[in-house]
C-alpha cells in the first residue's frame, strides 16, 4: 500500500501571478498554502493543482519539486508548464506545444510530452537566464521550461510532462508592451485550445492509472491477512495475473476463508495453472 494522492490529475507550474490568475479563474482554484514564496492553488473536485514559481529556471525546478512534495501525487499525473514566451516570428497569441527545450546556459536539451499535432503547433524553445530581445534563432524563448523539464519527468514520465507557451512578444512587438491585462487576454484567447489539450491528456492519465493501478479489492485483502513484505510483492504479482485471467471474479470471499496469505496465493496459482491447460490467448 502507498500513500499516493490520486485526487489530482493536473499539476501546473507557472512563473507569473498574472499567468496563474487566468488558470485560477478558469479552473476555480482556491488558495491552499503560501509557504516558501511558492503559492499553491487547488481544486480537488476537478483535479487541478497549481504552483506559482516566480521567474527563472531554478525557481521553476524547485517549485515543481515543492508541489510534488506537498501532494505526493504518484507517477501518473500530468505536469504542465504553461506561460508566455517570446518568439522570433509570432504572431502574438499563438499557443505552441513545445517539443524540444534547450537550456541555453548549458546546452542540455529535453523533449517533453506526447505530441498532439491536431491540437497545437509544435515549437522548439530556448530557456534563457535573462530576457531575450534579439530572437536570433527561429524558436521560442522563456526563462523557466528547462528547470521544469529537469524535474517533472522524474516525478511522472516524459510523456506526461507538457510545456505550453503562448507568444507574448516578438522582434516586432517588444516585451515592454506586456501587461497583466494582455496576459489575461492571451490565456482567454487560448482557453478552448487548452481545454482540448487537457481532454486529450486526461484520457491518457486515466488509461495509465487503470493500467498501472492495483485492483480495488487488493488493498482490502492485504489488510485482512498477514503478509510478510516478500509475500506482499508476490501477492501483487500473482493477483495481477489472476485478475487478468478472471476479471469478473472477486477474491474477497476466498480471502475471508483462507487460513493464511500463503494458502490464498497457492489457490490463486492453482487457478492459473488449471487455466493454462486450455490456454486461450484472448
Amino acid at each position: 500500500m502507498n500513500n499516493t494522492n490520486r485526487e489530482f490529475k493536473f499539476f501546473w507550474v507557472v512563473a507569473l501571478r498574472s499567468e496563474a490568475n487566468a488558470l485560477i479563474k478558469k479552473f476555480n482554484l482556491k488558495s491552499f498554502s503560501n509557504h516558501c514564496n511558492f503559492p499553491i492553488y487547488i481544486n480537488r473536485k476537478n483535479g487541478h493543482a497549481l504552483v506559482i514559481s516566480g521567474v527563472g529556471s531554478i525557481k521553476s525546478a524547485v517549485a515543481t519539486m515543492y508541489l510534488n512534495k506537498t501532494f505526493n501525487p504518484g507517477q501518473v499525473v500530468a505536469w504542465i508548464n504553461i506561460g508566455i514566451a517570446g518568439h522570433f516570428q509570432g504572431p502574438v497569441g499563438t499557443l505552441f506545444q513545445v517539443i524540444k527545450v534547450v537550456n541555453n546556459d548549458n546546452g542540455k536539451s529535453f523533449f517533453p510530452g506526447l505530441r498532439f499535432p491536431k491540437l497545437a503547433k509544435a515549437a522548439e524553445l530556448y530557456t534563457v537566464s535573462s530576457p531575450e530581445n534579439e530572437f536570433t534563432l527561429p524558436v521560442l524563448y522563456d526563462m523557466e521550461a528547462a528547470g521544469f523539464c529537469e524535474i517533472a519527468p522524474s516525478l511522472s514520465c516524459n510523456e506526461l510532462t507538457f510545456v505550453l507557451k503562448i507568444v507574448s512578444d516578438t522582434s516586432e512587438q517588444s516585451q515592454s508592451l506586456i501587461t497583466k491585462k494582455m496576459i489575461a487576454d492571451l490565456f482567454n484567447k487560448n482557453s478552448d485550445m487548452i481545454d482540448n489539450l487537457l481532454q486529450a491528456v486526461v484520457k491518457i492519465v486515466d488509461r495509465e492509472r487503470a493500467r498501472l493501478g492495483d485492483p480495488i479489492e487488493m488493498d482490502g485483502i492485504m489488510c485482512s491477512l498477514h503478509f510478510t513484505e516478500t509475500n506482499r510483492l508476490r501477492f501483487r504479482k500473482i493477483y495481477k495475473k489472476w485478475w487478468c485471467l478472471f476479471p469478473n471474479k472477486s477474491l474477497a470471499d476466498r480471502a475471508k476463508k483462507a487460513s493464511s496469505a500463503h494458502d490464498l496465493m497457492q489457490s490463486m496459482e492453482l487457478d492459473i495453472a488449471t487455466e493454462a491447460q486450455t490456454w486461450k490467448l484472448k
Binding site: 510523456e159 495509465e208 490467448l281
Partner: protein
C-alpha cells in the same frame, strides 16, 4: 503516421535523410545534435510513446556489424547481424524490443554506406568461412521500405557479394521492391509467422498472416529464396491444430524449391526483459501464463517447449527434408 521527425544536424544533407523527409512532408521537423539526447533516456514511458512514435534520423558511428547470438542462425559457420533501425512499426506483444529500449521512437541510421563498408571488412576478415548476415533483428527489414529504400540498397550490395548469404527478416508484405528486382541467389527473404488466430491477438499492427503467406508465395514463384520463421512458438489451446493448419496453408502451392529454410524457436526472455514487458502489459494474457524461470531465463519450460518443437518438426518433415529445418534456441 509519423508526426514528428528529429534529425541529427550532421546528416541533414544525407541523401537518405532527404528521401525520408520528402516522404513525410507534413511532419514537424526538429534538429538535434545526437540521437542519444532523446532516445532511450530514463523516465520515458514506452507504452505511451508507442502510441505516437517519432522518427529519429541519425548517423551510426560504430558497431555496424555484430556477431549473431549463438543459436540464431541456420548452418553457417559464422552469423552476423546489423541493424539500420531500432524499433519496429509493428507492435507484436511478444516482441523483445518492448523490453530492449525505454524508447518506442523509431531510430533510423541513414549512413547505409558505413554499414556496407563494415560488412565488406567482415567478409574480408572471415575469408574462407561460410557467413550469413541477418537484418531485421532490431527492426523489421521491409516495413519502412517505401520511406527508407533500405532493402533496395542492401540487396544491391549483397548481389555483389555472392560468397556470403544475406537474410532479410520481415513481417511486411511490402514486397514491390523485391518483385521489381531480379532474384538474388544469396539473399533470403524470411517471414515471421504464427497461426492466424494467434497473430490476430498478438501481432498488433502487423499484416495479417494470410497476406504474409500470399507475399511468400509470390516471392517464391518469382524466384526469390524465402524462409519461414515460426518464432516464437506460442502455446495455446489447440496449438497443434493451429500450427498444422498454418504449415499446410503455407506449403500448399508454395514453390518448394525456393524454400530456403524453416526455423522455429520457443518463447523465451531474459528474466529482466520479461519483467519489463509484463509490467508494460499487465492486461495481456500472454504474460499471465505460469511461465517457468530457469536461472535468468523465462520460458514455457522444457515440457511444453520440447513437445511443441517435436510436433512442429514432425509437421514440417511432411513437406521438406530435415536439412532445411532448424531449431533456434536463443
Amino acid at each position: 503516421m509519423i508526426e514528428t521527425v528529429f534529425v541529427e544536424s550532421q546528416i541533414i544533407d544525407h541523401p537518405i535523410t532527404k528521401r525520408v523527409l520528402s516522404c513525410l512532408p507534413k511532419a514537424d521537423l526538429l534538429n538535434i545534435n545526437r540521437y542519444q539526447e532523446l532516445f532511450n533516456k530514463r523516465q520515458q514511458n514506452f507504452r505511451l510513446q508507442k502510441e505516437k512514435p517519432a522518427l529519429i534520423l541519425a548517423k551510426k558511428h560504430d558497431n555496424f556489424v555484430l556477431p549473431a547470438p549463438s543459436g540464431f542462425g541456420m548452418d553457417s559457420q559464422k552469423n552476423f547481424y546489423f541493424s539500420h533501425m531500432y524499433n519496429c512499426i509493428y507492435d507484436c506483444r511478444y516482441c523483445f524490443l518492448q523490453g530492449m529500449y525505454s524508447s518506442a521512437n523509431y531510430l533510423l541510421f541513414v549512413n547505409f554506406e558505413d554499414f556496407f563498408r563494415s560488412i565488406s571488412e567482415t567478409i574480408q576478415n572471415n575469408a574462407g568461412s561460410s557467413l550469413t548476415f541477418f537484418s531485421g533483428y532490431d527492426c523489421d527489414s521491409l516495413a519502412f521500405e517505401k520511406i527508407t529504400s533500405f532493402a533496395q540498397h542492401t540487396l544491391s550490395f549483397f548481389k555483389e557479394h555472392p560468397e556470403v548469404e544475406f537474410e532479410l527478416r520481415t513481417k511486411s508484405v511490402n514486397i514491390e521492391t523485391l518483385l521489381n528486382l531480379e532474384p538474388i541467389s544469396n539473399c533470403v527473404v524470411a517471414f515471421s509467422l504464427s497461426p492466424e488466430s494467434v497473430a490476430d491477438v498478438l501481432d498488433k499492427k502487423a499484416p495479417r498472416v494470410n497476406k504474409r503467406i500470399r507475399a511468400i508465395k509470390k516471392l517464391a514463384k518469382s524466384g526469390w529464396l524465402v524462409g519461414l520463421r515460426l518464432d516464437p512458438l506460442i502455446f495455446c489451446e489447440n496449438w497443434r491444430g493451429l500450427y498444422s493448419e498454418l504449415i499446410e496453408e503455407i506449403m500448399a502451392d508454395l514453390e518448394i524449391t525456393n524454400l530456403h529454410s524453416v526455423s522455429f524457436g520457443p518463447l523465451r526472455y531474459p528474466k529482466k526483459m520479461y519483467n519489463t514487458i509484463a509490467a508494460l502489459y499487465p492486461e495481456e494474457k500472454l504474460f499471465a501464463f505460469p511461465m517457468q524461470t530457469n536461472g535468468q531465463l523465462v520460458s514455457y519450460g522444457p515440457e511444453i517447449e520440447n513437445e511443441m518443437a517435436t510436433y512442429i518438426q514432425d509437421e514440417l518433415k511432411k513437406y521438406l527434408g530435415a536439412d532445411r529445418i532448424f531449431q533456434c534456441l536463443i
